[in-house]
Symmetry: C2
Subunit: 591 residues, 2 copies
Amino acid sequence: MPAYTAPVKDMQFVLHDTLGIAGSDIPGYADLDPAFTEAVLTEAGRLASEVLAPLNPVGDREGCRLENGVVRTPTGFAEAYKQLCEGGWTALDCDPAYGGQGLPYLMGTAVGEMLVGANMSLNMYQGLTHGAYSAIHVHGTDAQKSRYLPRLVSGAWTGTMNLTEPHCGTDLGMMRTRAEPQADGSYRITGQKIFISAGEHDMAENIIHLVLAKAPGGGEGTKGVSLFIVPKWLVNDDGTLGPRNGVTVGKVEHKMGIHGNATCVMNYDGATGYLLGGLHKGMRAMFTMMNEARIGVGVQGYAVAEAAYQSAATYARDRLQGRAVTGAANPAGPADPLIVHPDIRRSLMDQKSFVEGARALTFWGASLIDRASRLGDAQAEGLISLLTPVIKGFQTDKGFDACVAAQQVFGGHGYIEEWGMSQFARDARIAMIYEGANGVQALDLVGRKLAADGGKPIMAFFDLVKTFNRENAADPRMAGFTEPLKASSKDLQAAAMYFMENGMKSPNTALAGSTDFLHLMGHVCLGLMWGRMARAALAALDAGHPDRDFLESKLATGRYYMARQLPATALHLTRILSGEGPVMALKAEAF
Amino acid sequence: MPAYTAPVKDMQFVLHDTLGIAGSDIPGYADLDPAFTEAVLTEAGRLASEVLAPLNPVGDREGCRLENGVVRTPTGFAEAYKQLCEGGWTALDCDPAYGGQGLPYLMGTAVGEMLVGANMSLNMYQGLTHGAYSAIHVHGTDAQKSRYLPRLVSGAWTGTMNLTEPHCGTDLGMMRTRAEPQADGSYRITGQKIFISAGEHDMAENIIHLVLAKAPGGGEGTKGVSLFIVPKWLVNDDGTLGPRNGVTVGKVEHKMGIHGNATCVMNYDGATGYLLGGLHKGMRAMFTMMNEARIGVGVQGYAVAEAAYQSAATYARDRLQGRAVTGAANPAGPADPLIVHPDIRRSLMDQKSFVEGARALTFWGASLIDRASRLGDAQAEGLISLLTPVIKGFQTDKGFDACVAAQQVFGGHGYIEEWGMSQFARDARIAMIYEGANGVQALDLVGRKLAADGGKPIMAFFDLVKTFNRENAADPRMAGFTEPLKASSKDLQAAAMYFMENGMKSPNTALAGSTDFLHLMGHVCLGLMWGRMARAALAALDAGHPDRDFLESKLATGRYYMARQLPATALHLTRILSGEGPVMALKAEAF
């Protein structure tokens, strides 16, 4: 069974050496000194390793069962969820006005990585709750906030997001779920929603469903869509639970992975719902949840890969098989450990350099969210809006690849469920799909985010890269980072330029290259983060930091990324420049 | 549930237009005229589509159960296997002296692709039998051949290969299974073998296990290993079944996929075994099975991808979601089909261009096997020996990626087991692992095959590419194929040169680039095949072939591969040229 060790040291390096958060001007960051964040991360890590991780294979094996309308979660999940709540982990970055601890989003993200890495399925119950919390926090009335938020923050209630219907996922304009206005100001919601994570379960007193539906008068397509709060149990004015609402679970899906999370078909039969946000402004309100959820899924991408990598590295050090070609490394034993073999190291370095780079990118992104929300910084807002599809799409594609690579290190044992490596790959697979399949992320990036605000965010991103390269031009030790970063950034600019020149008259040109652009940009982002981490590691070494092994390894891992991963940008550019022709040539019936 | 349509037309194009098999000088090929091969493929395709494919999800869902020492295969498997045998499909390319039909290996490969695409798990029962047939056919005594071959050919008995033990897979020198010689010339075999595909089941009268074990006097490591025939039921001199042998199934593994195939732990407790081939020459005999099995696994790589691709293409044509950015393609409907979206097409083209290229490479490889075995052509023997790790490693890596891409086309539905796309990905995953994990294939290619016979095979391969480019230089319509092929072949030569220059003094330099070399060479192989197919398609068009749509699509698919897949060779070369430094930098404890 895989063990999980919280990567506290690496997180501390990103938070403090790389991002220098304690010196930031973002309100609340001054409290985040190294001792404090280490205490929080260590405590969360303990819960992750000792309570959540041992339940991960249990959740996979047992799954969720629908019995007489009630969903039974796997053995131990309810108790572990209770510990999550009691430890205050669900309230970490929530508003103190509603019982939250008021820590920055960044801290919630770091802790979230650990909870996901230890048990992705279990953490989803609280992850979706946080999304519902945010949507109500931003768009709710005072009455709605005081009614729902305290118990979403404490975890006594959980939340869901209901978008997809059997015939539409991405294209929500085709939605059929209806909301009929009632005399008392509420609505009657009728329709069927599918793929509802944590839609029904036995771990909380109530479930607050946020449901997209069409109310009369809004016009065609997504313009007619509104968002509604539909509690499983109606809530009385005094806060006690009233009668059961007209929402029932129709089915628990049989999925490739995340068996421990109940993915439900939800049937709304004239259920009572309350408008959240403006009438026919449902898409906007839903995107508050969606953007947060996309960052959360980007975390899943590398967090599960971190867990898989840890198991692979341990196995590679322990498993004796073959001899090093340069001479026996373990002459007293029957064979050398796998880790002597260059191809095993190549795979582990692929995984490690991705995971650590993605962690840095995600933490930086989370700090941009804090900067935007706590300082009202429009540039930070634009930048994280640009980076969100990259964090979601690139990190989940690469995270899945990393899990598959980690599984491969185990040879035949990797294919046997008992070893747990299959579960990592199967669980990680969903992150490429939900909250907008990665093709949709690429479309969002190329079709929307690149041109947003007159292209200011992407120009700001290029400026960041240029500034970084200029600032480090004088240090010859940084040449192995700045030179590849320059080259890859040039590829990204060439791709963006190509889209600008051709996209208007032939939009398919841009769309045919959208996934390659997403990956190209993902690599440049990780290249930038590796540059920053290298600079931080060199600074710490120069300052006489005692943990030289850690810092030297950090530099070596970064050099690996720059030498062997970042050059992928040239391939992505080549594909992009081949244009729409090869992609669009075939008639539909020729496929 | 996924449907499977046998790709008869595409196979015919490869066999006749591209490889021109009916005009070949290989004995037996003259009989393979287009009408004959079409009849065989159509009949096999019918069995695959109608009998095997519907059982594929059944096998996945039910799996194999161990009950009182007997393994129960999924509902319908035994009956379908019986149809496979009765139709003569197990005997297709076997020796007529033992009841086989004597067709070339190439035909067995083409038919095999269909059976695998329709139901990989079910076909494995006969696939492993074929491996046992070949080992006995090549290495057995006349008595052994007449005792075992007729019933392996008819499928009345099945076969297995027993290599792996709990503590050793790749490193067979550590093997613990022992063979003690008996007075009657037989051996008593004792030990445990794991990951034995089709190790026990309820579909055949007897199972002939081929078991690697150490007999006294052979020395250390693999030098002491011999191969033994260990029948589940001992066989009397008159051919009737005698007493049960001392081999039992200990466990059926719980795997990520291929649930319909029984992967067993086999316990040998003083079981009676008969030496196959020379004493202490077991590795050599086992490699007869192994090389064949590796080609068979390479077939699995693209055959399952073909099946997954078919489902994805159908879904993309049927599922209505969103509108084409260039204007509604289906204005009367609520939305356009997915296939209008460039990123969906990109994914489908990735899949299609891989599958068709891999089919051509595999069929060419199978024809080289026939040339080697039927004409004793040493150059063909050297070439297929070089290509075998590429066909196994590259095609299974890319085949898995293609299945994952096909699954992605389904969005959320791809993650739900009922749709069948998850099964394709889970089943295809094993092909990257078994019969030598792909890292071992890369090691075999770079460490052994490149330098084999003084480098003659790789030089012959480069000559083939050069000759092809020279022969097509005059046709401007071929420039889109020959130019990229030249560039990628140059990358491959540069990589080989780099290994030659550095590998002797620093073998880790070559090993650190081995997987990249495998992929680099895989791309060049597929580039060459696409060049050949393009030339064949142009020739057919020039000759007024009536099916212009098929041929134009073939050319367009090839152009896609050359424009968007083949350029990956430059990235692989860049990684290779970065040497061992980045890969080997970290201390083992730093992972």
